[in-house]
């Protein structure tokens, strides 16, 4: 069972992640209303928000250290927050600023923080093989670090995921695959794309340990992840976890979700793991005033990082040519005429 301190830590992360997404949504929609134009407003590009996924990242990452590797998909913010990614520089990256994690080159789907071994990608299931590789490196070096690959339930029919399961299993690598099951692959409900309701059963075909957490609850995730991460760290091989989460904000900002019934949205709204964890904190004797303080601190922190990010300079156009290769200046195969 998590200690009170651990419960508080998870709650802090979840509240922070939720507030972060709410505020990013507001910032993103600025200038995009009433007519939505993806090119308008302070945040460039697409935005995939993770509100409703927080129990997963908080419960899993509670067991991770900075030297453990995490890969995340296109919906990465909550995972990055729980892994301890530098929130100021991450926010600056999302706003396309020079002091962002990737100097404005990556954006919200391509966040990289080597200090905590975090990376994410906009390609479905792309993070699975590199997580296997990080685990391989740890094993070869006799280190006890582990790797965790987060992915969505839509990703589990992708070759990169299934091939990674097999490779991780046959090499007994310290890796945990975490499926965040929000029931939707953009507009496609699960029953249309797979006959296996419990995605964790994919592991059975590879003789891999597997668990599904069927309800959206940070403590249940904590328990399942404790076992999975512990197994990996002890050198006892990989695990596939599937965690039921909920998608509260559409696939991407601008997705009107016309394909989704109102009842499904309303039901998802009600499965909120944050008030559930607050109730648990109260049961453990944490005062309401403390819980409120956590919320206020999270709100202040989000305002602070957004304000900081928006004050940061944009990159100069010439910086587009740097970082193609190590050592900075683009080799420019074609060069100038």
């Amino acid at each position: 069972m998590p200690t009170v301190s651990e419960l508080r830590g998870m709650y802090e992360e979840m509240v922070l992640a939720r507030r972060y997404e709410e505020r990013l949504q507001e910032e993103y929609l600025e200038g995009k209303q009433p007519a939505f134009d993806i090119s308008a407003g302070p945040i460039p590009g697409e935005l995939h928000l993770a509100a409703g996924h927080e129990a997963s990242s908080a419960g899993v990452c509670r067991h991770l250290r900075d030297d453990d590797t995490v890969t995340a998909p296109h919906r990465p913010h909550h995972v990055a927050i729980s892994k301890g990614v530098d929130l100021k520089r991450m926010t600056a990256e999302i706003f396309g600023r020079r002091t962002g994690l990737s100097k404005g080159k990556g954006g919200h789907m391509h966040l990289f923080d080597p200090d905590v071994n975090f990376a994410c990608s906009g390609i479905i299931a792309q993070g699975c093989p590199p997580a296997v590789g990080a685990a391989m490196a740890a094993k070869k070096r006799n280190e006890d670090s582990v790797a965790v690959a987060f992915l969505g339930d839509g990703a589990i029919d992708q070759g990169a995921f299934l091939e990674s399961l097999n490779l991780a299993a046959v090499r007994e690598l310290p890796v945990v695959f975490v499926i965040e099951d929000n029931d939707w692959a953009i507009s496609m409900p699960k029953e249309r794309i797979t006959d296996i309701e419990d995605g964790s059963r994919r592991a059975e075909g590879f003789a891999m340990s597997n668990t599904r957490v069927d309800y959206d609850d940070a403590v249940a995730v904590y328990e399942a992840a404790r076992e999975a991460v512990g197994r990996a760290r002890a050198g006892n091989g990989p695990t596939l976890l599937e965690l039921q989460v909920h998608r509260r904000m559409g696939h991407f900002m601008g997705d009107a979700e016309a394909y989704r019934h109102d009842e499904d949205k309303e039901w998802a709204e009600k499965q909120d793991p944050i008030p559930k964890l607050a109730t648990r904190l109260r049961e453990e004797g944490v005062e309401d005033v403390d819980i409120e303080e956590i919320r206020e601190r999270a709100h202040d922190r989000v305002e602070e990082v957004i304000r900081w990010a928006k004050d940061q300079p944009e990159p100069d156009p010439e910086e587009a040519y740097e970082d193609v290769f190590v050592g900075d200046v683009a080799a420019g195969v074609g060069g100038e005429d």
Binding site: G45, M109, H110, I186, I193, A258, P315, P317, A320, V333
Partner: protein, 341 residues
């Protein structure tokens, strides 16, 4: 605009409506035509490429598929070899990396490797292009990659009129056709298109033959060869240049495979000055290919050459960086000025 387009006056469509109209027309005519891809049924395609098809044809012929590009694109190859006429959609061309074997080692080569005893009459539709800050994994065109590998026809519409005619031709073609539609031209509600791609479109079926470039504007001072979104940027630049007394001929390639080199050569013989504008990477790609064709066919007429493309960097996210690497209207105008004597 070509003559046939002005004659069709009356009804204007967005590029996505025109594309869908052609698909629906073919699906009505031929039971063997079906469409599969991610979010193509209830959603209607992330970029409106299948909007409304589900309502008429149902889930059996407008199929949502798992996020398993290798499986469903390979399945399209198999269904095509079995005699059907599948259309498979790769949501973003950037995602080709997960399924390229089925495309370039199967779809593109099976006709040849079987000595013509197999055919692969399928269409691979895919969204291309940047200009909305979607960064390195969602903004590429990869025109050159697909055109480079033999065995695939490659078409790139720049107007609604062409989108319909090229789609009819693609579905009826007995070879695999990669149909690359630029997101920015589709007329999607949340990604406003520039002026230009929305054109009059005849209600009846028609085809645009592959391998016929379109001269979008005539001019004697320089030839701009381009495609897709950059047709419209080149036309804007040509307007600006006309005010300076420079008359620019703008050629829209429309299909890369087959490539209409003859139209390029005719123009270059007239103007002597060639600017190739591409939204793909600069090196080893379309710009080099067109310049090479011009050199092979009209070397003595060439007085100056310039090319614009993505300068061999992945496409960056932040607006100033993306604007730097994707050629803009002003970059095209400047390139045309630079080749004037």
């Amino acid at each position: 605009m070509a003559e046939t387009e002005t004659e069709a006056a009356g009804r204007e469509l967005t590029m996505s409506r025109a594309m869908v109209e052609a698909i629906a027309g073919e699906m009505r005519e031929d039971e063997e035509v079906f469409y599969m891809g991610e979010d193509v049924a209830d959603y209607g395609g992330i970029f409106d490429s299948t909007e409304g098809l589900l309502e008429e044809f149902g889930h059996d012929r407008v199929m949502d598929v798992p996020i398993s590009e290798t499986a469903y694109i390979g399945a399209a190859v198999g269904a095509a070899q079995a005699g059907m006429r599948p259309i498979a959609e790769l949501m973003f061309v950037d995602f080709f990396g997960v399924c390229m074997d089925q495309i370039y080692n199967g779809m593109a080569k099976n006709t040849y490797m079987s000595g013509g005893s197999f055919t692969v009459p399928m269409v691979l539709t895919t969204a291309v292009g940047g200009g909305y800050n979607d960064a390195g994994q969602h903004s590429q065109t990869l025109y050159g990659t697909f055109a480079h590998l033999p065995g695939m026809k490659v078409v790139v519409p720049s107007t609604a009129y062409d989108a319909k005619g090229l789609m009819h031709a693609a579905i009826r073609d007995d070879d695999p056709v990669v149909y690359m539609f630029h997101k920015r031209l589709m007329g999607i509600g949340w990604m406003p298109a520039p002026e230009g791609p929305k054109t009059p479109v005849p209600e009846e079926d028609y085809t645009i033959p592959f391998g016929e470039a379109a001269v979008r504007r005539e001019g004697a001072d320089a030839t701009v060869v381009t495609l897709g979104l950059h047709v419209h940027r080149a036309l804007s630049a040509a307007e600006e240049l006309a005010a300076e007394g420079i008359e620019t001929e703008v050629i829209d390639l429309r299909t890369l495979v087959p490539l209409d080199a003859e139209t390029v050569l005719e123009s270059v013989r007239k103007t002597g000055r060639l600017v190739v504008v591409d939204e793909d990477y600069r090196s080893f790609g379309l710009t080099g290919e067109v310049v090479a064709r011009a050199a092979e066919g009209a070397l003595s007429d060439l007085e100056a050459v310039e090319r614009l493309g993505i300068p061999d960097v992945p496409i960056p996210y932040a607006r100033p960086l993306e604007n730097e690497v994707i050629p803009g209207t002003e970059d095209v105008a400047e390139a045309v000025r630079s080749v004037q004597g």
